[in-house]
């Protein structure tokens, strides 16, 4: 197997310092292969977005800081790069799509400028050519009447259209990796599917790797190759999407699966919610963070923190109870 495009090793990101410090991402490791789609799944506050911002080196600093770990992208540790060096990677090699299409575009600039901007910056193309490229990109995200839309402003578009513009912007410099942070959470369900379908198709065409951050397991099943499930700042299970659906190991993952409705099961089954509240990151429970909510908790879970253990080569989980090698 060839070298992964992105290797995150023992990443720890903390907000604030002293007693009030919160470890949003706690010693996580994962890989993204060239052209692969990796989904990072978890509830709010599980550390998904902070992981994304850590990779992009876009944490609001202060208060957020990468405390430890490396983020090796194509042989370079991004965590060690100077800000100016990182700028040549952002928007160029790695680009990002954000959750809020309504506020993520600059209201006072034309979308043509906003899409052409990274092309002009990174590919050193003159503005006129960059605009031509922007038109091409708008066509690719199936924006009707792309030429004339270049001079339109964001308020003239719906949420779904704006997210298409964001995708066009992310694709502008043919990056090797796109990080999409809940790209469809703010959209209507029907539009969600269109946008994700488009994103998937375009990344497949261009061979771009995709990190898809979501809380929606339905999205994961359809669009991801591999999945990392995060809980309380840690990855608690990782497997291929198929495998994870077939054999969820960690009680949390199984809880998530049980709490989503499915069409292919007998009518009348009750959805089972996960008991309790998501953990408070400043006061994580001792041992496994999930232990207060876990239905299968054993004594060891309350004092011994599990790290990722192998079930098989590709399927890892952090649970003392679930079967492992």
């Amino acid at each position: 197997m060839s070298k992964p495009l992105l290797q995150v090793r023992n990443l720890t990101t903390r907000f604030g310092d002293g007693l009030g410090a919160i470890t949003a991402v706690n010693n996580i490791s994962f890989n993204v292969d060239v052209g692969e789609t990796l989904a990072i799944v978890g509830e709010s506050g599980s550390g998904k977005s902070v992981t994304a911002l850590s990779i992009m080196q876009l944490l609001p600093d202060p208060p957020g800081r990468i405390m430890a770990g490396e983020i090796v992208f194509d042989g370079t540790d991004l965590a060690k790069l100077k800000e100016e060096e990182m700028r040549t990677i952002r928007g160029n090699q790695i680009s990002m799509i954000f959750q809020e299409p309504m506020t993520s575009l600059n209201p006072s600039l034309t979308i043509g400028l906003q899409i052409a901007e990274p092309i002009n910056l990174h590919k050193k193309l003159p503005w006129q050519k960059a605009y031509d490229k922007a038109e091409e990109l708008l066509n690719r995200v199936r924006m009707p009447d792309a030429r004339s839309r270049l001079s339109a402003h964001p308020y003239q578009f719906s949420g779904g259209m704006r997210q298409r513009i964001m995708i066009a912007m992310a694709l502008a410099c043919q990056p090797r990796l796109i990080i999409a942070d809940e790209p469809t959470t703010a959209l209507d369900v029907t539009v969600q599917a269109q946008v994700l379908e488009l994103l998937k198709e375009l990344t497949r065409e261009t061979g771009t790797a995709l990190i898809l951050i979501t809380h929606d397991l339905g999205v994961v099943a359809r669009y991801a190759d591999r999945v990392c499930v995060m809980y309380g700042g840690k990855i608690i299970e990782t497997a291929s999407a198929l495998d994870l659906y077939a054999r969820p190991m960690h009680p949390y993952t199984r809880g998530l699966m049980a709490s989503i409705p499915r069409l292919d099961e007998p009518a009348g089954r009750r959805l089972v919610p996960i008991k309790g509240q998501p953990p408070n990151l400043s006061q994580l429970p001792v041992g496994c963070s999930f232990n207060p909510r876990c239905s299968e908790v054993v004594d060891r879970c309350r004092h011994d923190t599990p790290e990722l253990m192998k079930f098989d080569d590709k399927h890892l989980h952090a649970c003392w109870v679930a079967p492992h090698v």
């Binding site: 990002m96 993520s104 575009l105 006072s108 990274p118 910056l121």
Partner: protein
């Protein structure tokens, strides 16, 4: 947009009528009327005439609404603001001579304060909570706290004591020597603009901080843009809209400040004219000056509203 401009200009008419009414009536309510003043000055021609004759000669014997009606019809049909009660010269002529001077002073003050205030505000926001930010913020408080007439007096007095130099007091019109005129107005303009630059700086800083937290700034960062490009291209434009509003709101304060500074620096502008007119209760001149100030403020605010169109695409499309 064209329809919008026309509607806005039409809406100015009742505002101006109302403003002229207030001005016309209010100055006639001032204690000490012009007749008393003329008689008490022992003017020969005034002493010989009886009080009624003097009032009749000045046109002050009719009821106030008739006076107003005469005044406004003269303004509408002849473009006249009446004649000075003392010198009998047309008020309009006097104002047209002095208005450009005050306008120049006000514009210089405005431009200077924006040139100083906006970049410093942006700098303080980008370098939030650094030593530079603190120094600039403290300095802006100082600039806000110091009244213009006090600084003006200091500038007149102290250089004269220390170096035997004081700002020139003989006014040079721009038509005579542009550069000396500019230099002469620059000092009062800078003093006039000080407080406004401090307000501009603080507002710009606050707005920039707000804008820099927006999602679209994060998007711009994620594109790999440099801080300079983000500030200049993405943030400043959005932060400036309220600053422009402030310019409109401060127009009145600038004019008020100009009145005082013209007095200190002996600049023959509208302010000095107004002051002399108020002291001599020269009603037509006072009314004329105030009315022109009113028109100026109303139009400045109209321009401000129209300028949103250049900054905010949503306004443009309306």
């Amino acid at each position: 947009m064209q329809g919008y401009i026309i509607r806005r200009v039409l809406a100015l008419i009742p505002t101006l009528i109302f403003a002229s009414l207030i001005v016309f009536i209010a100055i006639r309510l001032m204690p000490g009327n012009v007749i008393d003043l003329m008689l008490s000055q022992n003017d020969l021609s005034a002493a010989k005439q009886s009080r009624e004759q003097l009032e009749a000669a000045l046109g002050l014997d009719t009821p106030i609404y008739i006076q107003y009606f005469k005044w406004i019809s003269a303004l509408l049909f002849e473009g006249s603001l009446g004649k000075s009660l003392w010198t009998n010269t047309p008020v309009m002529e006097e104002i047209l001579y002095r208005l450009p001077i005050t306008f120049e002073l006000g514009m210089l003050a405005l431009i200077a304060s924006l040139i100083v205030g906006i970049p410093i505000g942006v700098y303080a926001a980008v370098k939030q909570d650094t030593v530079g930010d603190y120094i600039l913020r403290s300095f802006s408080i100082l600039a806000l706290a110091v009244p213009g007439f006090w600084v003006g007096t200091l500038v007149m007095v102290f250089p004269a004591i220390w170096w035997g130099w004081s700002p020139p007091v003989k006014f040079v019109p721009a038509s005579e020597h542009l550069w000396s005129n500019f230099l002469q107005l620059l000092i009062p303009a800078l003093i006039l603009g000080t407080a406004f630059s401090a307000i501009t700086m603080r507002l710009t800083r606050t707005l920039m901080l707000e804008v820099m937290r927006q999602d679209y700034v994060r998007t711009a960062k994620a594109k790999g843009l440099s801080t300079t490009t983000i500030v200049m291209r993405h943030a400043l434009r959005n932060a400036l809209i309220p600053v422009i509003t402030l310019v409109g709101l401060q127009a009145g304060a600038l004019i008020g400040g100009a009145v005082i500074l013209e007095q200190i620096f002996v600049i023959p502008g509208m302010g000095l004219l107004l002051l002399e007119a108020v002291n001599s209760r020269d009603y037509p001149t006072i009314t004329g000056v105030f009315f022109v100030f009113g028109v100026a403020i109303v139009f400045i605010n109209l321009l401000v509203d129209l300028s949103y169109g250049f900054l905010d695409p949503k306004v443009r499309s309306r």
